[in-house]
Amino acid sequence: MPRASLLDPQGQAVQHALHALGFTSVGAVRAGKHLVVELQAASREEAAARARAMCDRFLANPVTEDYLVAVETA
């Protein structure tokens, strides 16, 4: 997700379109990416730790993005 302090023109464009469609109660919109990563792990904690390592090293750019990790079991 782009950092809140940075201009997010995509989120703004979506917000304008929502207003135009009559969803006038919509406040700020931010547009980011959703990645689904399948992996084998012994526990949810281990899976989350590995996912965070992936985000820190590669999947998210710390200069521009914040990330959130959620674990689901298959």
């Binding site: 590669f58 750019n61 200069v63």
Partner: protein, 238 residues
């Protein structure tokens, strides 16, 4: 004659123009494939423009893990000259060899047209043949060209004279402080969004970009630029 390595990633598309521009300036330029780990004793390395790995995930995010990038990082750490143009600039930022990042243009459109930039720093290996304050016309061709850095980093860049090129008149992409190009604190790594290799001959509409490549060959000018820096007090971070 300097040895100039032009790195080719899958999806690079300005590699041939960049090689030609370096040849035209008198350099011994050659390609290095992104899987290679040897820069073959390059004096300078150029990461050309294009769309490495289709810009997937983020522009430059995947290319920065290509095998050749370890050699590029080692070359940069040893003080070697590195230039990133457009996608090359994005790759250098993703690799942490330059501060900041490049995000989607503020108006969300891919822009391909000439823009005006002002040369803000001539004490880099790729701008030493320019005059400080000189204005140039060079083309941009990018969708993710909005340079961003947090306030602290931007202030450091300004204080350290690390802004190399700045858009003048109109800022096409909404970049922080109208930044079009920056250099590292050591000044040997430079990234610019506009394409100097597309404007290095009259037949291409102008020659304003040619001196980026001539700068590499202008060894005598280095000394001169060094003297100017000393007068200016701007060399303190070198």
């Amino acid at each position: 004659m300097r040895r100039v390595a032009v790195v080719v990633f899958p999806g690079s598309n300005c590699d041939a123009d960049t090689l030609d521009a370096a040849h035209a300036a008198g350099s011994d330029a050659y390609y290095v494939w992104h899987r290679d780990t040897d820069l073959r004793q390059a004096d300078a390395v150029i990461l050309p423009g294009g769309f490495s790995y289709g810009d997937y995930l983020r522009s430059g995010a995947i290319a920065r893990f290509s095998p050749v990038m370890q050699a590029v990082a080692a070359h940069a750490r040893a003080g070697g000259e590195v230039l990133g143009v457009c996608n090359g600039f994005q790759i250098l930022c993703e690799a942490g060899l330059l501060p900041g990042a490049l995000m989607r243009n503020a108006r969300l459109k891919f822009l391909s047209r000439p823009v005006r930039v002002r040369v803000e720093a001539t004490d880099t290996p790729f701008t030493r043949a320019y005059e400080r304050g000189e204005e140039l016309t060079v083309p941009i061709a990018h969708g993710d060209g909005r340079y961003v850095a947090d306030a602290e980093t931007a202030a450091l860049l300004e204080a350290g004279g690390q802004v190399v090129w700045r858009y003048t008149g109109e800022n096409p992409n909404g970049s922080t402080n109208d930044i079009a190009g920056v250099c590292s604190a050591g000044r040997n790594v430079v990234g610019i969004m506009p394409h100097p290799e597309r404007r290095n001959a009259r037949v291409l509409g102008g020659e304003d970009g040619a001196r980026v490549f001539f700068s590499l060959e202008a060894r005598n000018a280095t000394q001169h630029a060094g003297d100017m820096r000393a007068v200016d007090g701007r060399h303190l971070r070198v």
